[in-house]
């Protein structure tokens, strides 16, 4: 049992007793943050997880950074290319070395960041730091390898395309954004994916601009020696040349009128309703985002009056749920529902609007709000039970803000959110002119 694990229990208990102000942060573990001279930040979180370490490389580049027309999908493509090796360790050598480590590892890409992760036995820590730092600094791949990987990406696109949800997401992003890069989803536009094989040189430029130390945060969680790890990080990343070039992203102008679209999905599905509003940028508006998250659960979560009416009592929908994203730039606040009969779609739409109006007009019940806050905190803390889950939970906060402090700030805002705050975000963000509505219907 580590000091840090013991603290988990203590802080969960404290969290329940404190109802107003959290002076200590909610994040229960000790951590250290430092930055190398070249600008690369690292976060160390020691836990007593016998012999197990999680090592995350968070690149603060996602599909958001694909601002050049015709080049969507490259952040995700690099999630693939990064496994192709370097001049020091060509692809097959790299593969063999990683295989011998027996790590539980992979990578994923989101709109705002790309995350490479491995969980492994701690005797392999130096080998992992050496290999990770090498591929981030010295990635090398032939045009043929590049082209082959673009084929795998197209395969991934085809695989996902059978789902109505992929179609819905694509359409919603296209509808809600006209100039900002959130217009495309992470996998990219199909025509751009098709054209990828011809963009070998561009891919190198993409890598050289974004895979730089100032744009990467390393997160080490688990059973490791802190001093030794700091030395290793300095040794292997210290020579990495800075050179990050920020993407030229155009802010989305504020939406002036509601937008709506009907989408035909070629397969069979029950109708899906997606009502999405523009939210805040997370980094600058943690207080608003905390209140918005609470509002989402109160208004559309499983314990909401609307959920009970539509799912349990009237049984008109398969489900209704909020999908409120935390994003680096203003993202989308979705309300999803799968409706059983197409004739009821308008009815559900009206109820969503009425529900929002209710929260705009009346403050929420304080006791209900406090119960929800307690739930949110318990859920967050209970999910921090392994090195990998700690790292996965922190990765987005780190990516959006560049640091770990945002976790405490966000939960502090959540604990302090008042009924007035909830009412205020309902009035500010859930306005008609910022509304985007898609009704997706399947083939008859």
């Amino acid at each position: 049992m580590s000091k840090n694990l013991g603290r988990l229990f203590v802080l969960i208990t404290l969290g329940v007793m404190m109802t107003k102000t959290v002076t200590a942060g909610i994040f229960p573990y000790d951590y250290k943050v430092n930055t190398l001279e070249n600008g690369m930040k690292y976060v160390l979180i020691p836990l007593e997880s016998p012999d197990v370490v999680s090592y995350f490389s968070v690149v603060r580049t996602g599909s958001r950074d694909e601002y050049e027309p015709g080049h969507s999908g490259f952040a995700h493509l690099f999630e693939h290319m990064m496994f192709r090796g370097t001049k020091n360790f060509p692809g097959d050598v790299y593969d063999e070395m990683v295989t011998r480590i027996g790590a539980d590892g992979n990578a994923y890409t989101t709109d705002d960041y790309t995350c490479y992760y491995m969980t492994f036995a701690n005797p392999d820590l130096e080998q992992v730091i050496m290999l990770e730092s090498d591929r981030f600094q010295n990635l090398e791949y032939s045009e043929e390898e590049f082209q082959t990987e673009t084929g795998a990406v197209y395969g991934e696109f085809r695989k996902g395309r059978t789902s109505p949800w992929s179609v819905l997401y694509e359409e919603m992003h296209e509808l809600a954004y006209n100039v900002h890069t959130y217009e495309h989803t992470t996998i990219g536009f199909e025509e751009d994916i098709k054209a990828m094989p011809t963009m070998y040189e561009y891919s190198q430029s993409f890598f050289n601009r974004y895979y730089r130390p100032e744009n990467v945060v390393i997160l080490v969680v688990g059973d490791f020696d802190e001093g030794e790890t700091v030395t290793l990080l300095q040794k292997y990343y210290g020579e990495w040349e800075p050179g990050y070039v920020a993407p030229k992203i155009t802010a989305e102008p504020s939406q002036k009128e509601p937008r709506a679209r009907k989408v035909e999905y070629p397969g069979r599905t029950l109708p899906i309703l997606d009502v999405a509003y523009k939210g805040p940028a997370f980094g600058k508006n943690k207080d608003d985002m905390a209140a918005i998250t609470l509002l989402g659960d109160l208004a559309f979560g499983e314990n909401s009056a609307l959920y009970k009416k539509l799912v349990i009592q009237e049984q008109k929908v398969q489900f209704i749920a909020p999908g409120f994203e935390k994003n680096r730039d203003p993202g989308l606040l979705h309300i999803f529902s799968m409706v059983k009969a197409k004739e009821d779609v308008d009815y559900v739409k009206e109820l969503v609007a009425e529900t929002i109006a209710t929260y705009q007009e009346e403050p929420v019940d304080k006791a209900t709000l406090e119960e929800l806050k307690s739930r949110e905190k318990y859920q967050f803390l209970m999910n921090l039970d392994t090195p990998a889950s700690v790292a996965h939970n922190l990765a987005r906060y780190i990516a959006l803000t560049g640091g770990i402090e945002a976790v405490n700030e966000y939960y502090e805002a959540l604990v302090n959110a008042s009924p007035d705050d909830i009412q205020q975000v309902a009035q500010t963000y859930f306005v008609e002119n910022a509304r985007n509505t898609i009704v997706l219907k399947g083939a008859e």
């Binding site: 229990f9 593969d95 480590i101 992979n106 397969g267 499983e302 049984q315 119960e371």
Partner: protein, 505 residues
């Protein structure tokens, strides 16, 4: 909420009566599996009922699944489902049911602070279900939507796998999907659910699993309280299936307007975890097709070298939710397992080629086994990789219950740690030859233009492949062989089914 109060009252009387007459014998220590972690501030509950889709009566396929959903997502005699949702919400805890072929588990995790309230709700759900008509309607609607829409149309690879399982185990208790069929689900009534619960979700069929920071009193309390489960003394066990013999290569083509082709291949194998040979086969399988891992040989051949799809894997145990999981699931144990290959969707124009390439790789794998280098690398990888199988108390509890299912003396997780490093290449390769073969197998494809694929397969039409991008010389050399590689499929062994007919009845 509309509620048939009179019906529920009657049901409550029946249940109370049942418990009064038959209940009361606590669950024994022998049927209690404990994974204590004293410092853990949470408690993991995992109750295993020895019932699954194999127990579904003919014509009522899906009944085990729906009954368990009625317990986890339905009203009790004292609380409506709405009230249960409201009561669980502030606890930041929930409970879920998972019904597979042989096992059903009810699992949930709660912080110690919230234990008392949670315990009350959890046990109430299992002991005092109301089986309300409106709950059944809601759950049936969800299952029907899954069968009619999601499974048929939104994930061709899941459809392909489900089609393969039904195909391989056709005519046995394993031969239907746990969610049943459209026709059978529609026919299920409250009375069916009530009777199935009484017969199968009984004291004799339950094994308690508790993990984390519980205390001894909780164990006793749960043992005593679950003594009030129904008990009629009848034996509801089902004989392990004997799948029909496969003669040659039999194909099921599920035809739909698909933009890519999903391929699943399988045949029954006669080996279960616990035996040393199983671990030898697991190591070999890790080389040939480690799940969601680039070390998989099939992945290297089809995705890495040729860029034809997203991944290619193989299995010696059932692996549900493979698209969403990176490690094996617990409590989906089977007494009869199959060897399975999962080829993720490939471009339609390459389907014949990829099928040939896959079969060729399997034949080569069986014939030649692993080289010394491949063995050494895989052994080192797999010995470490298995350490990631159970990172949480809940997962370890799941494995401990499965140890009981497979009657393993000791622990499967420990076996993985100790046996894998002790295996020899000769042992592994001879085990592959003993248990795997490539002549008699079933293949499920989800694709378009089924008739033309059938003709191409039966007539052994050459299937050349063109790449949009240049490949290594070795790839082109191998492709010359693959494009003509005989599959030996006869017209009589190819069945074409329209997707609308899948899981209909």
């Amino acid at each position: 909420m509309k509620k048939n109060t009179k019906f529920n009252l009657l049901l409550a009387v029946i249940l109370i009566g049942t418990n009064f007459i038959f209940g009361g014998t606590p669950v024994s220590d022998e049927n209690t599996v404990l994974v204590p972690v004293k410092e853990d501030p949470t408690i993991s509950f995992r109750l295993w009922f020895k019932v699954g889709s194999q127990n579904d009566p003919a014509g009522k396929e899906g009944l085990a699944y729906i009954t368990s959903a009625m317990l986890a997502e339905g009203s009790t005699t004292s609380r409506t489902y709405e009230e249960i949702v409201s009561a669980l919400y502030p606890l930041a805890a929930d409970y879920y049911a998972n019904t597979h072929v042989e096992q059903t588990v009810f699992y949930g995790r709660v912080h110690k602070d919230k234990l008392d309230k949670y315990y009350e709700l959890y046990t109430d759900a299992l002991l005092n279900p109301a089986f309300a008509e409106e709950d059944l309607n809601r759950i049936k609607s969800q299952v029907l939507n899954y069968l009619e829409n999601s499974l048929r149309y939104s994930s061709d690879e899941e459809l392909g796998k489900a089609a393969l399982y039904n195909f391989v185990y056709d005519g046995t208790p394993y031969g239907h999907f746990p969610q049943g069929t459209v026709e059978s689900v529609r026919s299920i009534t409250v009375e069916d659910v009530q009777a199935f619960y009484q017969e199968n979700f009984c004291r004799e069929n339950v094994v308690i699993g508790l993990g984390g920071g519980y205390d001894k009193k909780l164990v006793k309390r749960l043992q005593n309280d679950l003594g009030n489960l129904p008990s009629d003394g009848t034996d509801s066990s089902v004989t392990a299936p004997e799948p029909a013999e496969i003669n040659g290569r039999e194909l099921l083509i599920v035809e739909k307007d698909a933009n890519a082709t999903a391929i699943s291949i399988g045949f029954p194998i006669d080996i279960l975890r616990g035996e040393r040979e199983w671990y030898a086969l697991a190591l070999a399988n890790s080389y040939f097709g480690e799940h969601r891992n680039s070390s998989s040989h099939l992945y290297q051949v089809i995705r890495e070298a040729r860029g034809l799809n997203y991944g290619d894997y193989s299995y010696i145990e059932r692996y549900p939710n493979g698209g969403r999981r990176s490690k094996p699931m617990q409590n989906v144990s089977l007494r009869q397992q199959m060897f399975e290959i999962w080829i993720r969707p490939v471009p339609n124009e390459t389907k014949h080629f990829v099928l040939r390439a896959t079969v060729r790789e399997l034949e080569d794998f069986i014939e030649n086994g692993l080289t010394e280098e491949e063995f050494d690398l895989t052994q080192q990888f797999f010995s470490k990789y298995v350490l990631h199988y159970a990172p949480t108390t809940m997962a370890r509890l799941g494995y401990a219950l499965d140890d009981k299912f497979y009657d393993i003396d000791g622990s499967h997780l420990e076996n993985l740690r100790t046996i894998i490093p002790s295996l020899t290449r000769e042992e592994v390769n001879s085990t592959v030859k003993k248990y795997l073969q490539s002549e008699d197998m079933k293949i499920a494809l989800v694709t378009n233009n089924a008739d033309s694929l059938k003709s191409a397969l039966v007539d052994e039409i050459v299937s050349p492949i063109e790449y949009a991008t240049p490949k290594d010389k070795e790839v082109y050399e191998a492709d010359k062989v693959i494009r003509e590689y005989p599959l030996n499929i006869s017209a009589d062994d190819v069945r074409i089914v329209r997707v609308e007919e899948m899981f209909e009845k």
